[in-house]
Amino acid sequence: MSTQVPAGLKYSKEHEWVKLEGQTAAIGITDHAQHELGDIVFVELPKVGGSVTFMKPFGTVESVKAASDLFSPVTGKVVAINPQLDGAPETVNKDPYGAGWMIKVELADAKELEKLLDDKGYLNHLGQA
């Protein structure tokens, strides 16, 4: 069972992914992260309209094993949160890169994305971890 790391996304060393959609970035956690956490039972997200800061916690994800901070891979304003995760947090386990997205952020500084890893860099990072 190999971990999925799709090309075309940006990754943080804290195991979040970013998908750029124009000036907005969708953010979630990686397949590796959901596998390590195990069954996710609760996702706490910021409110729409709130702001998030590069590599600062923006929420928490709780599994049967542990509660972990979610680190924002970008700075900006939260324009949407995934309403599905409240009632069905297991969506993050089932489809971490698709239906399990967490928040959408209007980027304050697109250059920040350059500080993140690409798919190859993230795979490398997993190899070292």
Partner: protein, 484 residues
């Protein structure tokens, strides 16, 4: 097995509640306003005394605890609590004392508390103890409030950060956050110790202190503790000792000598008072001289041969609970102290470490040992790569232990070690018990490779099979309802 509510027989007579209102007093239903009164019926099951006894005994038979089996729950020190503690705590002189009783009628209890304070000060190397905190995390909160009060008394209000190691127990950052501090995590070395360079980089004039457990949360002794203390103090910070692992060094080494300024002790771990389920706990805090004046009130004072309570501490952080701690729990810890004495307490620490080292030496042959340094009172092992390749993870091994009659160890903690199993035998187990546990773990290791489905599907022999922990967490249902 039926819940007691499900045993209710329709048509059985209602429970009779005697009216215990004293003559001349008003009844509760005359005083309590309508808005505050319950509208629904109580819905208690109507059962005879014998039926209740049988139900409770049946529950007891299914109970797993330290009195029934080996309970190696790492980071929790599930030692045996000697029954003499219970006998002494039930003496009416202790048990029947009202918390508002005048000091002159409470001399025995006050003496026990006073002597417990002195004893705890001696074994931790601290100058003064408060018995006020009602649990370990409450002790952390108290200790951090003391650190904050000290900084503020010096006009140093810019210290906003508390440092915690990445392996720290979750209560450390939680307590710091409640006090209003920003929590900064400092990295560990690959060996599993505090990274001195990382610590140095994090220290500064905005750091209030460092919270540390020693032995640390990986079960390793922080051998650089004196250097760590100097670094923290040179930067103007305070060093906080989380007493979670005090059992490992009890009577052998003292946090006060290592340079710690504040210590909390978990009496329910190290000093054999009731554990879990509300205990209730007790988390006394010890401090060095410079923090003494900030300690919470009340405190016990000895004046000649008389004992009394006092609140005269002008710079106190104030009250942190009602009265003076969980007094009847403290009596149990005092009994443990007196039972072991100066000669017995060091053996507690020594045997706790010896037992852990013995089990680790055996288990490292069949499981992965991620850390090379000698363990203290507890250690971490992982499933081997071969077991993981067969789909057998830590959770499965833990559940399989139930089939062998053992309580599982702590699993998936600390978070910095993948698939961690944290095992703490404690000093109260015999070599025969430890050998039995090792044998069970070796059998499970063999099963994991030869018959992984057997391990993955465990437990097979418990009254309730594999419970759906995910569903339980996702659909919290905390109240019994007889409805469909």
């Amino acid at each position: 097995m039926e819940l007691i509510f499900e045993k209710n027989r329709p048509g059985a007579p209602d429970i009779y509640f005697p009216d215990e209102t004293p003559a001349g007093a008003r009844r509760a239903d005359e005083i309590v306003p309508d808005a505050l009164r319950r509208n629904e019926t109580l819905d208690l099951p109507s059962l005879s005394e014998l039926e209740v006894v049988r139900h409770v005994l049946a529950l007891c038979r299914r109970q797993v605890g330290i009195d029934s089996t080996f309970y190696p729950l790492g980071s929790c020190t599930m030692k045996y609590n000697p029954k003499i503690n219970e006998a002494v705590a039930r003496w009416p002189q202790y048990a029947s004392l009202h918390p508002l009783a005048p000091d002159e009628t409470a001399q025995g209890t006050l003496q026990a508390l006073y002597e417990l304070e002195r004893g705890l000060a001696q074994v931790t190397g601290m100058d003064e103890i408060t018995l006020n905190p009602l649990a370990g995390a409450h002790g952390e909160l108290t200790g951090l409030l003391l650190i904050k009060a000290w900084h503020e008394s010096r006009g140093d209000a810019k210290r906003r950060k508390i440092l915690v190691p990445d392996a720290a127990h979750g209560t450390n950052p939680a307590s710091a956050a409640i006090v209003g501090y920003e929590v900064v995590t400092i990295p560990g070395t690959p060996e599993g110790l505090v990274d001195l360079k990382g610590l140095e980089a994090a220290l500064g004039d905005d750091v209030a202190g460092l919270m540390l457990t020693n032995p640390n949360t990986l079960g390793l002794f922080e051998r650089d503790i004196v250097k760590i203390a100097k670094l923290v103090h040179d930067a103007g910070g305070q060093l906080y000792y989380d007493g979670a692992n005090l059992n490992a060094i009890l009577g052998v080494a003292r946090p006060g000598d290592m340079g710690f300024d504040v210590v909390h002790m978990n009496l329910h771990k190290t000093f054999s008072t009731p554990h879990g389920g509300g205990g209730p706990g007790a988390g006394p805090v010890g401090v060095k001289k410079h923090l003494r004046e900030f300690l919470p009130i009340p405190f016990v004072r000895k004046d000649g041969e008389r004992y009394g309570t006092s609140e005269e501490r002008p710079k106190t952080i104030g009250r942190i609970g009602g009265f003076y701690g969980n007094a009847n729990v403290l009596v149990r810890a005092y009994t443990y102290f007196r039972k072991h004495g100066r000669d017995g307490l060091p053996k507690v620490g020594q045997h706790a470490v010896l037992n852990a080292a013995y089990v680790l030496a055996k288990l490292q042959k069949t499981y992965t040992r991620p850390l090379g340094l000698p363990c203290m009172h507890e250690f971490i092992i992982q499933p081997t790569e071969e077991m993981l390749a067969k789909g057998v993870r830590t959770l499965h091994i833990a559940k399989r232990l139930i089939d062998y009659g053992y309580h599982p160890p702590t699993i998936y903690f600390p978070l910095v070690v993948k698939e961690a199993m944290m095992i703490e035998p404690t000093e109260t187990e015999s070599k025969a018990t430890l050998d039995g546990f090792v044998e069970a773990m070796e059998k499970i290791a063999k099963e994991a490779l030869e018959n992984p489905e057997l391990v993955i599907g465990a437990p097979h022999s418990s009254p309730v099979g594999k419970v759906d922990e995910t569903k339980a967490a996702r659909q919290l249902d905390l109240r019994f309802c007889a409805c469909e």
